[in-house]
Symmetry: C2
Subunit: 223 residues, 2 copies
Amino acid sequence: MSQVPSPGARRIPDATIRRLPAYLRALERSSLSRMTSGELGQLTGFSSEQVRKDLAYFGAFGTRGVGYEVPALAREIRRILGLDREVLAVLVGAGHLGTALLRYSQFSSQDVQVAAAFDVDPRVVGTTIGRVVVEPLEHLEERVQELGARIGIVAVPAGAANAVGERLTRAGVRAILNFAPVTICQACPEVVVHNIDLALELQALAYFVTVTPDKSLAVERDL
Amino acid sequence: MSQVPSPGARRIPDATIRRLPAYLRALERSSLSRMTSGELGQLTGFSSEQVRKDLAYFGAFGTRGVGYEVPALAREIRRILGLDREVLAVLVGAGHLGTALLRYSQFSSQDVQVAAAFDVDPRVVGTTIGRVVVEPLEHLEERVQELGARIGIVAVPAGAANAVGERLTRAGVRAILNFAPVTICQACPEVVVHNIDLALELQALAYFVTVTPDKSLAVERDL
DNA sequence: CAGTGTGAAGTAATTCACAGCG
DNA sequence: CGCTGTGAATTACTTCACACTG
């Protein structure tokens, strides 16, 4: 549903792309020099076949009978995800959630750097949160272009989210992580939007606590 | 993958459950008294057939040729999700992220109430964040049982997350929303774990900004 | 006759099963 | 021999197409 079925290159399942960062993290944390698909699956919660199939979409990185070289595979995954180049993001909305994201060191890693933050509130503009100084919202377009930022993070109230999404898109952002509880950029086919909707997530969990009164085999699921 | 294939009741796709809260929100926000599946789909970003099929798993709530009664359908969905009863959650970890979640009013709605919060840091224990007073971590089991809380929210550092997850599970929680960047409760089949991993989400977006240099039709996707 | 409800068809993702290779 | 890589089988999910009904 996501990529053009361009001839030549096989289309990569979306689900595969979402698992790659988990594999990468497990590899980076490991002190082993080699790992089998079974071990990598164990660490990430996926089956060994799943791991092998995901990786096989991009090439043959393993050694039969042995497994995968940890540093080499990590490098490959970083390349596949585009993390071998610098990837810059900007965050809009330095409220409670935006502030928490900026302070969460894991979030702005060396892989994807949150390089600027914006807010409308003059009381937070100018303050330093994490590694960035909050700038006024008017600077958004100028700074996105200046930085060459390709990812936008929307952490503004619902009413402002769509306008912010469209401004980010027009400024050149190609992907948006949206925390606002509304659909944004419905009319922007050139940008990929992933939504993280915390309230919806909680409500979905309510279903599982009511519907699972017996010992039915419950399951771990991501995102 | 989620429910026991119990005879009689058709198994509900997991994807359906995750869309129901979005439908519910759209219905609750609307001032219309009736809505068609097309309108509801427009508001939530899904197709009309998808909406109809999702709802049809649980019964025939619409009127042919007309659509759905908004308040009645909202009530049905709330019942399906188990939101017609009080659903209580507890949050563990009142750091930056936990604090942001507690202050985010949408997160603790009348539907799912975050009724208690815990932390190890004596400096935050006793402070009021949002509507709750932060309690010492030792109170966790006692308070979960006392409240009858069935959902746990894990917002502690990676190193502490698995232990917290297991304590929540042993205390009686049936579902966990995990924000820690680690796999938790692998050995707890009786609890449903949903993971929200902010860093992985950003890394996955990196793929879409590199792989979409042409005007391939990009797509909005949830969670 | 407009829009629901639903089998059937189609598509996507996962799991199986095993050949192939180091 | 063990583990990878991969077609084939299976399962899950979505879209189509249309009968049905208020």
